[in-house]
């Protein structure tokens, strides 16, 4: 059974069809890239999967269970986490707290727990801190744990978003343009990071414009254009695909 599967997924905004009957299948332990020119509908696919938008029609199945009609927090609780294209960190919280918010849905403490603070709650908090620090070490932000999130430089903010998303203990991680605004060194580190995430048993679906990243780490590519899936396959095959070159890669030097 596929980990994530969409069947004839469509989303209309008024008269505009942002995505049109898209079928996507993601298998467990893959790294899949969703690529396409601006406005192709890539982020809309993410928004539909994570429950921010309710699709106009079509089906989204995660481990065989429908995600359509669920609120974003319910989708996260089922094991799908994401980052945002335009970084959406909690700016008034520390780096550590940002990651701890990510594990919100894996924690249980209620009002009584917060006020009376029994042993179980103290333990839960300590575990959450330990896990958050572990994730910060994983994305190389450990020594900035006490900074305010908005004080971080751009590349660090992107990696913090990844750590925050991973704190919800996902099986499927959706990354929306993780390399945007990163310098070459940071981009290399990011590629390594994404591989390490996969090694942790997390399936990665990413939207990316940076061809080096896309071609370097993807097991499979899915190409969208004007809301329609125009190609799908291994990076080498996509590189040669005339439809894709016409729609998108024609203007770029591949593998630069």
């Amino acid at each position: 059974m596929a980990l994530l599967e969409t069947r004839k997924l469509s989303m209309d905004f008024g008269g505009l069809r942002a995505i049109d009957t898209i079928d996507v299948t993601i298998e467990a332990h893959e790294i899949v890239s969703l690529i396409g020119p601006n406005g192709a509908g890539k982020t809309t696919v993410f928004n539909c999967v994570t429950g921010i938008f309710a699709p106009t029609s079509g089906e989204i199945r995660y481990r065989g269970e429908s995600l359509v009609g669920l609120r974003p927090n319910q989708v996260t609780a089922r094991g799908v986490a994401r980052t945002f294209q335009n970084i959406r960190l909690f700016r008034e919280m520390t780096v550590l707290e940002n990651v701890m918010v990510g594990s919100h849905c894996r924690m249980k403490a209620g009002v009584a727990g917060a006020v009376f603070r029994p042993g179980a709650v103290i333990k839960e908090e300590e575990e959450a801190v330990a896990r958050a620090l572990d994730l910060l070490r994983f994305v190389a932000l450990e020594e900035k744990a006490d900074l305010w999130a908005r004080q971080l430089p751009y590349g660090d903010q992107r990696r913090l978003e990844i750590a925050r998303a991973m704190a919800s203990d996902p099986t499927l991680l959706l990354l929306d343009e993780p390399a945007a605004g990163m310098n070459p060194q940071e981009t290399n580190a990011l590629m390594e990071l994404i591989r390490l995430i996969r090694d942790r048993g997390i399936t990665v679906l990413l939207i990316e414009h940076h061809m080096k990243v896309v071609m370097g780490i993807s097991d499979r590519l899915i190409v969208l254009d004007h809301g329609v899936k125009i190609a799908e396959g291994k990076p080498e095959a996509i590189r040669e695909d005339p439809t894709v070159i016409g729609a998108y890669l024609g203007q770029e030097s591949i593998g630069a």
Binding site: N73, F90, A109, R117, Q185
Partner: protein
Amino acid sequence: MRTPSRSMPLRQRPLLRIVLASLWFGLLSLPLMMELQAPYFGLGRPLMVSVVVGLVGLLWWLASQWSERLRHVVARVVDTGGSHVRQLAEGPGRRLLYALALACAVLIPLGLNRYYIDVLTQVGMYVTLALGLNIVVGLAGLLDLGYIAFYAVGAYTYGLLSTRIGLSFWEVLPLGALLAAIFGVLLGIPVLRLRGDYLAIVTLGFGEMIRITLNNWDSLTRGPNGIIGIARPKIWGFTFSNPIHYYYLIVAIVLLTIFVVDRLNRSRIGRAWTAMRDDEVAAEVMGIDLMKTKLLAFGLGATWAGLAGVFFAGKMTFISPESFTFFESVIILCMVVLGGMGSVPGVILGAALLVILPEMMRQFALYRMLIFGGAMVMMMVLRPQGLIASPRRAIALRREDQARSAVVKPASERLGLPSRGERKRGTP
């Protein structure tokens, strides 16, 4: 006629700006100026009004010229003070400090007369109210302009249950808090989808609804006449009669409030509130149930207003809808904003200032509210984040220097990132 101001930004035309601001102020304050029976120093009324208006314009211009520098100075003074307080409050001697503060709170009133004790009791009541509103506005970021309604719910719960059924103060105290919490949640349900201005307007409407209902439901609440003869609190045959008894009772309530609000703030729920305040969409995607979290904020915020309301009814033995006007909601909101949204010590300071200062300014009588309003405006211009900024922010800022000097851990090398030193050299 050609208007040169169109082509040139107003900021580059200070004179025009003073004139416009003065005229506008004069227009706004015209009704007030015409009513005042103030001394005119021998000048005619129109002349005097013009002089005042001109002076205000000049002041405003000066303030705008100096606001940047002034803000900086204010920030330095307040932050230095704040960081000393914080170091004391988090240092090794903090238990001693808390004990000392408590001892002051217990002992000082023994040497004061009834009037001062009464003012301090008021401070306690408003601290409780402001800390409750701080949950909704400061932590969860939901602008609530009808907060006083929950105070009314608490007060009328005790008023009615005491005079009609004869329930005691101690029985009603938790009941009033619970009922206020339920009202908080009930208000929360219809406004779940609203944000910002819209939320403020709906909550404002809700506050007025409660007050108008209390004012008109004669058979239950006796309308504008209010409820009289509410029983004073009793404990083991001892009746609360002296102001100092009420003072100690409110100290206990304030301690409970501080304890609970602080624990909530430092819990999973507090993090969820702050996250929701910062970015609702991101918070929901991170797995926070917005509906539940918002209702919790409304309910837990209203609880403290309910408690304060029961206390108020027990202390005054008389309540009427007059005590629960929109203006009260605004004052409590001012306490939260002035003190520093989300910051417990800040809100306590804000509440204390806004109760004590108007009392001290009683000699200015008519001008009291004018001075008060002016002070609020100055405050917001010079220190928009409040007197004592939220500790979340403060901790982050305080540790910045430490983190800067920290040695880069090997973790960054594993990912092939340059250490901070290398990166600095790399950038011109």
